[in-house]
């Protein structure tokens, strides 16, 4: 249980500025995911919090208690911060049994023998691997090793649990199982969790909040739904969502009532209340429409208000069908639920909800109109 505050953190590796003036508060009990492409600084952030890296600038508070103060070169030892980390590689000690791996930290704290055993068995039971306690790590499958790594991290009842891409070495099916497992764990333990991943599906499905990183800078911190609905800029929009969002280029200009924007799908007017407050350039300017594939519904019969389009290719995949369309010379991807097959070059009609569109300023890349 703890509240983490990162204040003006700067981290350099040599001349490489990895974390740039990072400010982030993680509330007590949050499942906070640090999300971003590889090399954006998310793992470094995790390692700074854990104490394995020392930042050059900034402060870190855990529950108001100062853990890092770069100004006075104060860095509390990792073992004293009341947290634990699950490594991407699991980092299980190969010469110790599962039991000894989990018990190691407890023995370091000189807990009584009986207490150690109780804690170890409790966390092994929680991870449902109590029968593996006498095995060595190389006798376990990847998924079992993963569970041991988590059991080891939670055995000391950390106030804060850090997870560094823990699922990336598992196969697709196990990954889905473990996602559910981790979500349960978060609820049962109530611990604050910081979770690093580059997989946006993991982030969206598990977190209470997501911090999106871009090249060492925090670009957006929001709930999964808010992040998905309204990515703050074009890079974020591009990164979040699978299949990826459609970008349609168009033009827009400010109006007394709000905004008018035009793209290959038509011209749309928006009220002031839909705008983000981002500065809108004077006169006509280039903009980018962001339209989620599932917002593009396909009808086979023409109707008032529908937009005509041609099917370029369709990819039925069982539970869903992806359809690439050409509308007004622009390419557009649509995601339909269920198994529907379309002919190539078939004429179809698109039902769109302009309120759900995101509109970005092409020049700055920033969001100017919310999807509501």
């Amino acid at each position: 249980m703890s509240r983490i505050e990162l204040i003006h953190i700067d981290k350099y590796f040599g001349d490489n500025h990895v974390l740039k003036d990072l400010n982030l508060t993680i509330e007590d009990g949050d499942f906070m995911t640090l999300l971003g492409p590889s090399g954006c600084g998310k793992t470094t952030t995790l390692r700074v919090i854990s104490g394995l890296e020392k930042p050059q600038n900034g402060r870190l508070l855990i529950d108001g208690h100062e853990v890092i103060n770069a100004d006075t070169a104060y860095f509390e030892e990792p073992g004293k911060r009341g947290l634990n980390l699950v490594f991407q590689s699991y980092a299980l000690w190969p010469h110790m049994t599962v039991y000894d791996n989990v018990a190691f930290g407890l023995k370091i704290r000189k807990l009584h023998h009986a207490e150690v055993e109780e804690q170890v068995m409790k966390s092994l039971t929680l991870m449902r691997i109590q029968e593996l306690s006498k095995r060595y790590p190389n006798e376990l499958s990847g998924g079992q090793q993963q569970r041991v790594a988590i059991a080891r991290a939670i055995a000391s009842n950390p106030k804060l649990l850090l997870l560094d891409e823990p699922l990336s070495n598992l196969d697709a099916k196990l990954r889905i199982d473990m996602r559910a497992e981790l979500k349960r764990l978060h609820r049962d333990m109530g611990t604050t969790i910081i979770y690093v991943t580059h997989d946006q599906v993991e982030a969206l499905t598990m977190s209470t909040r997501i911090a999106l990183f871009k090249a060492g800078v925090l670009s957006q911190v929001d709930t999964p739904m808010a992040l998905y609905m309204n990515p703050i800029d074009l890079t974020a929009a591009d990164f979040i969502g699978n299949p990826r969002i459609n970008f349609l280029h168009g033009t827009a200009h400010a109006e007394s009532a709000g905004l008018s924007a035009t793209c290959g799908l038509g011209t749309f007017a928006y009220k002031k209340s839909h705008l983000t407050g981002e500065e809108i350039p004077k006169g006509e300017f280039s903009c980018v429409f962001g339209i989620r594939p599932e917002q593009v519904l396909i009808e086979t019969q023409p109707e008032e208000g529908l937009v005509e389009a041609d099917v370029y290719a369709s990819q039925p995949a069982g539970s869903e069908t992806l359809v690439t369309l050409i509308a007004g010379k622009q390419e557009l991807l649509s995601k339909q639920l269920g198994l529907i097959d379309y002919e190539m070059n078939q004429k179809v009609y698109l039902r769109l909800n302009p309120d759900k569109f995101n509109i970005y300023n092409k020049e700055t890349g920033n969001l100017i109109k919310y999807a509501v």
Binding site: D10, Y12, L52, N57, G79, A91, G105
Partner: protein, 608 residues
Amino acid sequence: MSRQGTRKPLSLKRLKNQFFNLVGNPFNMVVFISLVALVALIVLPLLQMLKETVTLSRSELRRVDGQVGDFTLYYWKYLLSSQMTGAVLWQPLSHSLVTGFFTALISVPLGSILAWMMVRSDLPHKKAISMLVIIPYMIPSWTKALSWLAIFRNQRSGALGLLAGMGVAVPDFVAYGPIAIVLVMTLHYYAFSYIMVSGSLRSVNSELEEMAEIQGANKRQILKSITLPLVLPAVLSATIMTLSKSIGSYGVAANLGNRIGYFTLATKMKEFINGTGNTGVGYAMSLLLILLASGTIIANQRMVGTRKSYETMGGKGTRHSPIPLGKAKTPLMGFIVLFLFVAMVIPMFVLVMESFQVTTGGGYGLNNLTLYNYIGVRDFANQNIHYPGIFRNPEFSKALWNTVKLTVVASILTAFSGQFLGYISSRGRGRWFGKVTEQLVFVPYLMPGVAFSAIYFAMFSQPHLGGLIPSLYGTFALIVLVSVVKHFPFASRAGTANMLQIGVELEEAADLAGASFWRRMRSIIIPLAKQGFISGFMLVFISIAKELDLIVILMTPNNRTLSYLAFTYSKDGMAQMADAISICVLLFILVCYRIANHFGADIGKSWG
């Protein structure tokens, strides 16, 4: 840190914290101590020797004006531009270069061809042969010199060799001198080329060759255009390393050259250092030798290391379909058998037999065979031998004890330091201290053994820095020290490889669990490094057990090892006893090798 971001306000608290961060972290202290030790053990002795070459010593007072300790260029002038230059520099240098050149010229093609046949051809019994081919590498090169002498010795040495005993007139230029040196060194260093080239050949994916075959190339074309260019870097490296090693080699050149006054740079240098006076010149020669040997190695790394090392490993693991030799199979097989016979069976047979002979060169008749050389009692000694058999000879038992003591103590220390230095360079990858450690540790590798001990002789023959560095000459400690430091490169490479296998995250996980540095060492690093430690230890052990070049300058009667005793006895004309001693050394090494193999050590990774 100040170049990164803003400069921090200087406060007492900050200074205090920084100080405790630095000092309170045992890792920093460990790095600091090991850097100091490396500088003291490698850089300082080198500088000290350099200083000795420009400092006037007592023995030259007669010839040079000035006082002891004055700066002088006398030694360098003597070496480089005096009437003596021809005799003390050009002649030994040309001898070194000639023997080195011809050794490389013969041994590299020999080793490479053997390697190709063992790795890529369909020769029968490859497994057994490739074992046999590598055995000469385990035999000390000076033992081979003794075998050579056992066969070719003529009247000049007093005791006759096998051929002379059979009435063959063996001319001096066959028995001793450059031809003998080149051939004996070839029989040692071909194995070195063999190991390097076969390693490289093994990493060539045979799909590369099969692709050429599909394109329509025949066997010769494939060999010429695909295989050879791919292993060329390894062949070049082997050439350079052989050159460097044979130039710096002492034992063979001394055994086979000194008797007829054929000196190389290494043997001449030893004469100057241990002989009468003028050690300054000896040091200067040793610096030249180091320059020569390290120059070739560094040039090799520059040329071959970076530009021409191909990434030949395929992702799929390398498959090897052997290339059929066809009609050539029988003659090639014959060649290998003949080679092994000449290179291994005959010399070993002659060496063993001579150790049982009453008179060398007297044939193998029962009346000329005796166990005297092993267990003889002095009262029954014949003619001019004044020693009992080696097992009754206190000099032998002392040397045996010294050898065992030296190898055990030095290889434990070496293996331990190797793991330790390996830990620092693996954890310091990309950091300044990791690079500095790696570079410093590599320095002894660049120096021929005999030159390396010369710098230790310079450093420790008298106290320096007001007694802070004591005089260690004549002590067992000095011989241990020089053996340990000389093997740093090898041991620390093994240590680094070992430590790199232990992921940093394993340590970080323990760090997060609250384990201190020492606790992490004890519970994580040491248990995981144990296996690598043992195999590293065994390999160093063998290398130290057979060492002669490295300790010959530092030997005093009390510290003699078996290698040195054999060398001395041979020099003093007691061939049978020298042979008997080298057979004991060989047995010792073979036993160690068996044990090392048992622990999974690979002799191919050893050098020496």
